[in-house]
């Protein structure tokens, strides 16, 4: 009898293992605290608990996570809402599984002092990422004919220090910290969140097709990821250790101090209302705000349907 029970158990576990779904997940960038929630979900077995076998593949600096989603080399990616909106305008629907960052972290650092508006940057050489994050300034540039020379960078620090650029776009949780840690005090800081572009940023996205085929998987992945982020929020020190493990694996030139500040900034940006627990949801209100602004500035030709982006209309 005992032997039968053991056999049953073994078979059950084997069945479960056989049915664990394999998923390739790609964050936007090389390992850093920006993706701590996902690393934690994996390391702490939250994905496994949901029966998901997650393989994290980081993108190359010159090939974005969106590209990897589109070419099928990744199933689930992190991306910014505005990227999803841009794709949706081209009828490529990325379904939002989870909204992590609720506020804009985009900032402009200028060498010149007392710059209070992008309109004072006419003719500037401004650094921008080689991939992504630069939609809003582009819109502004176009509209106002600011004649800005956009200089694409992999890392803006040396460009800025050498004087090759006049200003640079940064993420408050990333490059801005690097500037501080390089001992650089920018002449001026402009925050897009304070300029009417407080858009939600990072979220989990899948293709509409993938979503249709693996709705339950997507739900479970989102659920486990959220659990990961919640764990990180409550276990920052341990989370940093996990992040540093990924950092070392990928040989990313960074340090724990940098990652700690990044994590703190990001967790703050995840809060819908400052000081309150995050909802991890893309609210229709925020979505509509982004939608309206993008349409207004002609970045997208027509409004994107909220429900569809949320995987509603299947």
């Amino acid at each position: 009898m005992k032997r039968c029970l053991f056999l049953l158990c073994f078979m059950c576990s084997a069945f479960t293992a056989m049915h664990a779904q394999q998923v390739t997940f790609t964050p936007q960038w090389t390992p850093q605290s920006q993706f701590a929630g996902y690393y934690a979900a994996l390391e702490k077995g939250f994905y496994a608990q949901e029966g998901i076998d997650v393989n994290i593949v980081h993108p190359a600096t010159s090939y974005s996570s969106v590209n990897m989603l589109l070419d099928g080399s990744s199933d689930i990616i992190t991306g910014e809402l505005i990227q999803a909106m841009e794709a949706a305008d081209k009828d490529i629907i990325f379904v939002n599984l989870l909204q992590t960052t609720q506020h804009s972290t985009l900032e402009l650092l200028a060498r010149k002092e007392n710059v209070t508006s992008i309109f004072q940057m006419r003719g500037f050489r401004i650094g921008t990422w080689k991939v992504g994050f630069n939609e809003i300034p582009h819109i502004l540039n176009k509209l106002q004919n600011l004649n800005i020379e956009w200089i694409k960078f992999i890392n803006p620090i040396n460009l800025y220090i050498s004087g090759a650029i006049d200003a640079t776009l940064v993420k408050s949780y990333n490059e801005k910290i690097l500037f501080s840690m390089s001992g650089i005090t920018p002449g001026s800081v402009l925050k897009f969140s304070e300029m009417g572009f407080d858009f939600p940023e990072d979220g989990l996205y899948v293709t509409e097709d993938f979503y249709k085929r693996n709705t339950e998987l997507c739900r479970k992945f989102a659920q486990a990821s959220r659990k990961g982020w919640e764990w990180v929020r409550n276990n920052r020190e341990e989370a940093l250790e996990i992040v540093m493990k990924y950092v070392k694996e990928e040989n990313v030139p960074t340090n724990i101090y940098n990652q700690k500040v990044m994590l703190d900034k990001l967790l703050e940006a995840q809060e819908d209302v400052k000081g309150k627990a995050p909802s991890y949801k893309l609210s229709e209100e925020a979505f509509n705000r982004v939608n309206g602004t993008l349409v207004q500035y002609g970045f997208i030709s027509k409004p994107v349907e909220y429900k569809r982006l949320m995987g509603g209309e299947l």
Binding site: Y63, L159, I161, I177, S180, M181, G183
Partner: protein
């Protein structure tokens, strides 16, 4: 002995020591601190100079290598335009560069996108050293190696000048830290078409920088312009951390200065708090790349010598302080010891050893002054004591003499009372209490021929001078009184004697009396003395009406006059000096005349001795302890008359004759007289008294007639006194008994009768009185 205000048990030397120590410690500490600070500054300066010198050497070496690379690139770059037609030939150029400079690890000529239509978007011929040192070449650019956005390409392009990239880890070249020198290449139109580069492995840099040995315990750093560690003892930090990573959020001035200097390629040094300690960071930039080489040294290391120096100085200071304590203790003890000796001497002097030996003082300072003062004190004390001895001896002698004088003076006055125990007609007591040993009061008395001579007096002033005058007066009284009969003569004689040669203007008040003990008739003369008091048998006290006159010795030849009264039997005469009525108590209240009168009224029944005692008792009681300021003398005499004497006072009225007759009967009975004698007395006295009643006074004038009958030495003595007009019956001619009664003149028969019966008839006019004395032998 403790002086107030001083803390107990802390000696002068102790306090001096403490002060010396405190001041020395302060001076030592200040000097020490100043010296250490200067030494520390000097050490810091030397360390700084040393550090910067080391830095400078190293930087020169680095610059030399980097400069050599720059030259190698320059020397190669010019060839490129000549080979542009043949892209394949460009590999030869990059290989040549590697051959030209052994430090160069790789070299590329990276072209702008799509420069060669045949070569595609990316074209970058690249040569590098393989693992075996062999030079290899390949095309570098791919979609995954997008060199157009690499710093080494983009920055020189944007800056339009050669650029040293910040160090980075090369993925392809075997995990080596590299830097790339990039020089933009321009075509004839000035458009940049490519960048020629030289990759430099920085392994030698770590060796070079780590090799700096500025201090025993220090480590060296090199940081890029973006503050990343290029050289660091902990290799994990290299290119992963910046020097500001761990200080994120730190807004200290030293950090800001370090940031500014590193960013702007400036040399300098800062003091930083790190790992719970203070560290000096000396830094200097590499000229070519503006990377910063730094030496980090714990401040304690830098000041290690200063610390040793400080320890040595502390020990030295302590030794110096201890020596100072020892020397100053001895020194102060030496100075203070004589003071203690002086203290001992002072105690000896206090105990009477005026010759106590003083400490020897050789110095000429305050102690010498103290010594001299003590010496002077001793000498003065000895002299004073000698003088005191002599004075005391003198005083004792004088006191002894005064005691003798007192005894002599007291011996000059009668002191044995009752004065005349054998007599029954008079009782006399007196007492003299001088204020000092000797005094100026006097009294004296004696009886001669049935008369009591007495005197009381008060010499002006007190003490010895007064006592001398008193003695003279007493002596004169004795000698003069026995020769002269009347008080004023005696007084005048005394006055003249005292006034003669009285240069010191001494004078003496006196009351002198002669009392006829047979009759109670008192003659007296007053010389400026206070009036005696009369106490009659009924106890009434009245002052005797005296003529004041001048005191004795004031005015020679002054005409004194006598007065007289008759004292009733049992009447008392109270004489005193002004020491009695002027006796004062502590409130300066005098005893007063009223008190004397009251005393006498209340005690009139006492005998003379008791009156004297009561007087002194009351004076003592009044004085209540106050010092006696004047000599006090009281004399009290009570006239009792003899039992063989009878007196009667009659009015000048013929009706009194019956009283007279009765009186004579009483006398006859008292004296046991024979009836014929009584008859004769009756005859004589009636005749005499009627005479006085009828003729002595004017009609209707009421006057007294005093009659005294006494039996003495076998005789009956009759004294008849009146104050009527002067009439001497003895001068009346003998009556002519041959004539008829009608023809005989008035009175003549009475006198005749009196003469016939009595053996002796005398008349005296004393003052305003007629005194007729008659004697009849038995």
């Amino acid at each position: 002995m403790k002086l107030s205000g001083l803390k107990p048990n802390i000696s002068i030397s102790g306090r001096l020591m403490v002060r010396v120590l405190i001041v020395s410690a302060i001076i030592f500490t200040l000097t020490f601190t100043l010296f250490l600070r200067m030494a520390a500054d000097k050490m810091r300066q030397e360390a700084t100079d040393n550090a910067h010198s080391e830095l400078s050497n190293t930087i020169h070496q680095i610059d030399a290598i980097l400069h050599a690379v720059e030259i190698a690139v320059e020397n190669t770059a010019w060839i490129v335009p000549y080979n542009l037609d043949s892209p394949e030939s460009l590999y030869g150029i990059t290989e040549r560069l590697l051959n030209n400079n052994e430090f160069i690890f790789g070299s590329a000529i990276a072209f702008e996108p799509n420069y060669y239509s045949t070569e595609g978007y990316y074209f970058s011929p690249y040569s590098y050293r393989g693992k075996n040192g062999q030079i290899r070449s390949r095309q570098l650019g791919t979609e995954t190696y997008d060199y157009h956005h690499m710093d080494w390409y983009q920055i020189p392009k944007l800056l339009n000048k050669p650029y040293w990239s910040e160090p980075y880890y090369d993925d392809g070249g075997g995990d080596m830290m590299m830097t790339t020198y990039s020089k933009p290449l321009y075509d004839s139109t000035g458009k940049m078409y490519a960048v020629i580069t030289a990759d430099l492995s920085l392994e030698w840099l770590a060796e070079l920088v780590s090799g700096i040995k500025a201090f025993d315990k220090s480590y060296n750093l090199m940081i890029s312009r973006n503050a990343s560690y290029i050289v660091h003892p902990d290799r994990d930090l290299i290119l992963n951390e910046t020097i500001f990573s761990s200080t994120y959020g730190d807004k200290s001035e030293s950090l800001k200065k370090l940031q500014d200097d590193i960013l702007n390629g400036r040399a300098g040094e800062v003091l930083r708090d790190m790992w719970g300690d203070k560290f000096f960071v000396f830094y200097s930039p590499v000229e070519t790349t503006q990377w910063t080489v730094a030496i980090v040294c714990a401040r304690s290391e830098l000041y290690k010598k200063a610390k040793t120096l400080r320890s040595m100085l502390i020990v030295l200071c302590l030794i110096a302080l201890m020596m100072l304590i020892a020397f100053s203790y001895n020194g102060i003890r030496k100075v203070v010891a004589p003071i203690e000796d002086f203290s001992g001497v002072a105690k000896k002097i206090a105990k009477g050893d005026f010759e106590a030996e003083l400490p020897k003082i050789k110095s000429q300072d305050e102690l010498k002054e103290l010594h001299d003062s003590f010496k002077y004190l001793q000498d003065s004390l000895v002299a004073y004591i000698e003088e005191l001895k002599s004075t005391t001896a003198n005083k004792e002698r004088i006191e002894s003499e005064l005691r003798i004088a007192h005894a002599i003076q007291m011996g000059m006055i009668p002191k044995s009372f009752p004065a005349f125990p054998e007599r029954d007609d008079v009782s006399l007591s007196a007492k003299l209490v001088p204020a000092k040993e000797v005094g100026g009061d006097l009294y004296d008395f004696f009886i001669e021929d049935g008369k009591l001579y007495f005197i009381i007096g008060d010499v002006s002033g007190k003490g010895v001078p007064a006592s001398l005058v008193m003695a003279v007066t007493c002596r004169l009284f004795r000698s003069v009184a026995s020769h002269l009969n009347t008080p004023h003569e005696i007084i005048a004689s005394l006055n003249n004697s005292l006034a003669d040669g009285n240069d010191s203007n001494m004078f003496c008040t006196a009351f002198l009396g002669i009392l006829d003990l047979k009759t109670g008739h008192l003659q007296f003369c007053n010389a400026g003395h206070n009036a005696p008091l009369m106490v009659d048998p009924a106890g009434n006290v009245t002052p005797i009406n005296v003529v004041s006159n001048l005191p004795l010795g004031v005015f020679e030849g002054f005409p004194y006059e006598s007065q007289e009264i008759t004292i009733e039997k049992q009447a008392m005469l109270y004489l005193f000096t002004d020491g009695v009525n002027e006796a004062e108590n502590n409130n300066k209240e005098q005893f007063g005349d009223d008190a004397i009168v009251a005393l006498l009224q209340n005690n009139s029944s006492l005998d003379t001795d008791e009156i004297i005692s009561v007087t002194f008792e009351q004076i003592r009681s009044h004085a209540d302890g106050a010092e006696q300021s004047d000599d006090i003398t009281v004399m009290c005499l009570k006239y009792t008359g003899s039992d063989m004497e009878k007196t009667i006072i009659l009015d000048n009225d013929i009706a009194q004759i019956s009283r007279l007759t009765q009186f004579i009967d009483e006398v006859g009975e008292a004296f046991s007289l024979a009836p014929d004698m009584i008859f004769n007395l009756n005859l004589v006295l009636e005749e005499a008294v009627v005479n006085v009643i009828n003729y002595a006074y004017p009609k209707e004038e009421h006057q007294k007639i005093y009659l005294s009958v006494s039996m003495r030495e076998g005789s009956i003595v009759v004294v008849l006194t009146d104050t009527g007009k002067e009439f001497d019956p003895t001068m009346v001619p003998e009556a002519d008994i041959t004539l008829s009664a009608e023809d005989r003149p008035i009175g003549g028969l009475g006198i005749f009768l009196i003469r016939q019966i009595m053996n002796e008839v005398r008349y005296e006019r004393i003052e305003d009185r007629n005194v007729l004395t008659m004697e009849k032998k038995l």
